[in-house]
Symmetry: C4
Subunit: 223 residues, 4 copies
């Protein structure tokens, strides 16, 4: 966490700001948790209760609530998405021994994509049958995956990963991102048949990632 | 926190992402605190000050503020509810030695229910006399309780609980959730007499949980 | 943090949930920081930029911005208030060796008052010349002070304070709260002359608390 | 973190609240991360999806999304700005051995400027061609820089910096702030030619700070 310690005073005649800036994994984790928390909570806040003048009794309210159900489902899907990427980022950061300024910036770009998620979700909820809305949503997921992949690759190249992490674990993290993104891409392509296919496929995919069932006859390592 | 250390390199020929993902209790606590903080603060933000054109002098403003009182009470009730479940989740997590990916997902579902709380509260504040609004509110509390119960059961089965936690403490946590949810269910059923009975009962219940008085002649263990 | 360790298994035949719940100072601090952060940021978000149709050129925009100045000042004042109470709460918590369930609930009530601050501020900004608006604002500050005082008293009585904290420091924390609240009460009473006196006095007070100048000829201990 | 330990009981006949208040760097970091997280996420939330009645098919939605692009760019710029200052603040705090009350208040003023950023950004997005909007935006960046500079100077004078931090690193932090602010001032002055020049220059500047390329033939220390 404190790179200065490895220099002798004579070496450090002129120190670059960039060499000493932004290496705290704790602060990066805390900022990430904050941004995820705000994005996740605001997502659901967009589900507004029905207007009072249109509802006069219990059955009318029940009907209005049923009409809200697809919107709630859409937000549940985005909560799930953010949960998946929160787990993914956390997995990476807990495997790192230290951070540096570049890693911090790669994760800030990742967090920018996180903070775009409420917008993409609202867009998809409003235009669920239109392909550009789905395109934006998929592009957002793609950006999240790409940034996680790039930051992990960077962490390995810059030797930020804890030395005791075995090669197999390093590969597992990479493999998971690539596999997931390939499947999301398939989901996005399904929108050329119909956007509903696409959304159904993506929801199924995310439930699979969250629940992570173990198929009989397959080893745990294959999931 | 770092499961890799318990494997020899030869064992880990192919490592599952799911085996190494998402086990950080610190990150889970931080995300939880963030989501609770946003949900609790936004709850109260929905209490809007009266509109300027309708209020011209002090007494008019005082009257407008008195009319806001039931709304403030409703939000105080939800703040209380979230406080109770925040305490409950914290109690569980401080008794765990470590987390894993499944526990993380059980808590993410719990946090989804937390993030739904502002919606349920606004709905109830708007339609306080209609039974479906109370039904949604109660279902939200039920979901919070069920997820806490399930995650605690999972933690015990997966041996995530600190070994020094005695059996009696494990039971106390479980017993509390079940007892509370039974009482909430009674509260929900009271709405078949009148929703106001139901709300009054739930508020009394939550004040009881928060204040936790000790009855004379009963041991502390009985509360 | 883990009260179970001090019991032998035979003692703990039946353990009360309340005896083991909610004692984590770390979680309480994190929740508090989250609620303060949301309340402080949302305060300023209420300062809306002027509407586009009413502004056509630079000078018009400059005039519109000058008209926003009192609103910005009002929010700066509330940011200051929350900063003062954030510092106060932090000072208490860093002097505690451990927490318990009751302390947690006293702080949750404190945090409820924190989350009411954006409402009180918006109310005062909208009705700056009306006494009930100032009354609500002052009641909010009073609630913050009372809860800090009560929680500190509780912490001392329940022996949660670190044993090495000298008596003089314990008194300093108490004295500060009482002195500040007496001055705020004077500020509130000034509103019977005119609300502007009151607001001016409170702003001056808070700048004094934040800047904490040392008067020549007085010891540092007298502030 | 606990200044009392360095006093003998006899010395501390009367302890000043200000001497023991607000020295926790952990709490300051946590509050900062929270405020940055909320400000960063809310920035992007202002990008509203197009209205449903105006959009009937995919191509219309695509056009509406293209029209949103400059707004998204503007918010990306502010996310970048906040990212730069978050990195800057973090760099300072990780070099400190301890905090005190004054440092806390300098950072609270810094955080006030952080929380003003969504307002400045919305203002600039709405009046991108008007000089006062750019003036407010630049003043906000200036305030962030000034507060970072002042708090670092204070930390050095009050000997809060970790003793092992070499002189060169202390200078690097200062130099960076001054250089950046001079360049931002140049950017602001460019608005007298045209606001677009100014915005283009500032965006280029911030990408430079974030990416931090190493020019061939220059040492890392020169950046």
């Amino acid at each position: 966490m404190f790179p200065m310690e490895r220099r002798t005073p004579s070496e450090a005649v002129r120190v670059s700001y960039n060499a000493i800036a932004g290496g705290s994994l704790e602060r990066l984790s805390a900022l990430s948790d904050g941004i995820f928390a705000v994005a996740m909570t605001l997502l659901v806040l967009d589900v507004k209760p029905p207007e009072a003048p249109e509802v006069h009794n219990g059955p009318q309210l029940a009907v209005a609530l049923v009409h809200l159900a697809p919107r709630v489902l859409m937000f549940a899907m985005s909560f799930l998405t953010l949960g998946i990427f929160w787990t993914g980022q956390q997995t990476q950061l807990t495997h790192l021994a230290r951070g540096d300024r570049n890693l911090g910036w790669l994760h800030l770009v990742f967090l920018f994509a996180v903070s775009m998620m409420p917008f993409s979700t609202m867009l998809l909820a409003q235009f669920i049958a239109l392909r550009p809305a789905l395109g934006v949503y998929w592009a957002n997921i793609l950006a999240l995956g790409v940034m996680l992949f790039v930051s992990w690759r960077y962490a390995m190249r810059a030797q930020l990963v804890k030395p005791e992490v075995p090669h197999a674990a390093r590969c597992a993290i990479e493999r998971r991102i690539v596999a997931a993104q390939l499947l999301y891409a398939v989901g996005a392509l399904l929108s050329f048949i119909h956007p509903y296919f696409s959304i159904g496929f993506i929801i199924a995919l995310q439930l699979y990632f969250a629940i992570a069932p173990r198929w009989p006859g397959k080893s745990a390592g294959a999931a």
